[in-house]
């Protein structure tokens, strides 16, 4: 599926056979793999936005860069796009094609921005067809492809509207159609849903997911929203302070975090610490049996939904209810353990909790997360 060093071969001037017989949108053969080699970025003021990074993204894969603001994820996206240059020595490859020295307009990427960045001087259809116009595709062919893309984005019939007549969600759909129109080798999305309200975000996220899967386009997606990252990414790269802390399938990131930062950043994680005693971890509130591989650990972590509430004294831990919040689909119980430790448990049990009530908590050994060092 790689482009095999064939840059800009897709759109020839009118008359070429490839243009006369455009492919179906479901067959996105232009998707290229992306390889970053020793890509670092230091800004003029000496800030290290990105530490040297090596990364391979498969053709057709969606990789989400997730992290708090200032973690370097947008810088990384801009380096792949060609809007920023890596420090000397860094290289960016699309397939086998070294694109490091090429500006963005010669990389054949598609880009979707948080602020939509639609051209206000053009209609919706003209926006979508802009990349084709730049590539000198004939007018009727342009219009045909734009209509097809708008149709695919549930925007059929809106082609003649002005951009400012659309809602935020519609605008971002147009932006997506515009980016896909050029059959990019890599699609780059920079927090595309951040400007939308929660409901729209959800529905557009589903649409984006469907599109990325069906088109098989290589996509790099940047967000600070972990739910978005989990839902969209084939792989998620969690970033912090210019470094990729962990990269892996969403399940890996969630259930097997590689660092305390990842564990804390993704979802809620309980952490209890105590004394090592053989295969167990002892602390005032009880004792947890550790999995075999946890050699020198003095702590254990687990997700709120991996703990079960049992009769007092029956589980591994015993504590008192500090607070309970009924959230509809579940109840979140905050439990104080003896020795100043607090844990959070999510339960679907249909019962109410009284503050101060003594409860037991059990956690399976294979649900425990133990970080080395």
């Amino acid at each position: 599926m790689s482009a095999e060093g064939r840059p800009e071969r897709e759109f020839r001037p009118p008359g070429s056979s490839e243009v006369a017989k455009p492919r179906a949108w479901g067959d996105h053969n232009d998707a290229a793999s992306v390889r970053l080699a020793e890509c670092a970025k230091t800004f003029a003021d000496g800030t290290r936005a990105l530490l040297p990074l090596n990364l391979d993204i498969q053709a057709g894969e969606t990789v989400v860069f997730l992290g708090p603001s200032g973690c370097g994820k947008t810088t990384l996206l801009r380096i792949i796009a060609g809007l920023a240059q890596p420090d000397a020595g860094g290289r960016v490859f699309f397939g086998d094609d070294d694109v490091t020295a090429r500006p963005i307009e010669r990389r054949n990427v598609g880009m979707v921005f948080q602020s939509y960045a639609l051209f206000p001087n053009m209609t919706v259809a003209e926006n979508v067809a802009y990349g084709l116009r730049v590539r000198r595709i004939r007018g009727d062919e342009r219009r045909r492809q734009a209509a097809k893309l708008l149709d695919m984005m549930h925007l059929a019939g809106l082609g003649d509207r002005r951009v400012d007549q659309l809602s935020g969600g519609q605008r971002q759909r147009v932006a997506l159609a515009r980016a896909l129109a050029v059959k990019p080798r890599v699609l780059l999305l920079d927090e595309p849903l951040t400007a939308l309200d929660a409901k729209l975000r959800e529905s557009l996220r589903v649409d984006i997911d469907r599109l990325l899967r069906s088109l098989g386009v290589t996509a790099v997606y940047v967000t600070h929203d972990q739910a978005e990252a989990m839902a969209l990414g084939d792989r998620v790269a969690v970033m912090s302070h210019g470094r990729v802390e962990q990269i892996g399938a969403p399940q890996d990131i969630y259930y097997r975090p590689a660092s305390a930062f990842v564990a804390d950043f993704i979802g809620t994680m309980n952490r209890v610490s105590g004394q090592r005693d053989g295969a167990s971890l002892r602390f005032p509130g009880g004792m947890l049996r550790l999995p075999g591989h946890a050699m020198a650990a003095d702590h254990a972590m687990f997700r709120p939904q991996d703990a079960r509430i049992v009769e007092p004294g029956a589980g591994a831990l015993t504590g008192r209810v500090a607070a309970a919040f009924f959230l509809g689909s579940m109840t979140r119980v905050v439990v104080d353990l003896p020795g100043e430790q607090t844990i959070v448990i999510d339960t679907v049990e249909r019962r109410s909790f009284v503050n101060g009530e003594a409860i037991g908590v059990d956690v399976d050994a294979d649900a425990l997360v133990i970080l080395e060092s």
Partner: protein
Amino acid sequence: MTTSSTPHPPRIRSAPSPRSRGEGRDEGHSRRFYAQLAFTVLVCAFLVVPVVLSVLAGLSQNFFVGVKSGLTLRWVGQVWSLYSGTIFLSLALALECLAATLVLGVPIAYVLARRPGRMARLFEELLVLPVAVPGLATALALILLYGGWRGFRASSLFILVGHVVFTLPFMVRSVLAVMAAMDLVTLEEAAASLGAGFFKRFFGVIVPNARYGILAGALMVVTLSVGEFNITWMLHTPLTKTIPVGLADAYASLRLEIGSAYTIVFFVMIVPLLVAMQWLSRERAPALAGRK
């Protein structure tokens, strides 16, 4: 000159029902409204009456006798035969000045918008200097610098340079304001990501989206160029007179009716430009608001 502020509702004495509050406002409204109307009419009259008098003077047989001496186009005809050259020169200068400020001003505004920084601000201030400095001083500086080049000094090109120096900041400011309001950098990045090189981005995306600023600046430049007197007065030669210079000349040396008729000609040229400018500023507001 219209009543701009709506009158404040009067102070409420006792806890009133909504209805009585509304009535109180009506009463206060009417009194204040008529006071403001009277004031506005007075100010308008102050501005308009001289204009009307001037127009009448240019159309009457004998200004000192008044309109009852009869209306005539004779003076307008004389202005045409004596000063039509100044009209064509002024128009030509205005268009040349427009072309020059477009070619210089739009790129300057673009660079200033793309690189906001201390140097850019300094340059922007520097650019406005010719507006703050008296036109006579600007003109004198031009004469000192270029007066030795006889051919240049004697041509209308010399006046053009003065006009461009004076009007350029208006074009730059107008375009810069619009460019600063749109997300220039992201729009350009979006166009670049779709394969557009610099010139395609500049002429296909940036210029069309700055069109309201460019149009407003263009009308401003033409209006200012047509009406410019201070600099032109110093730079002109007997063969390169513009309308305002000719106007001064006519009032100084010919009968009042001809000068007044000349004023009419000037109005006919300048008023449509002013109206267009006003219309444009109204058109532009919703267009900018709708973008957000």
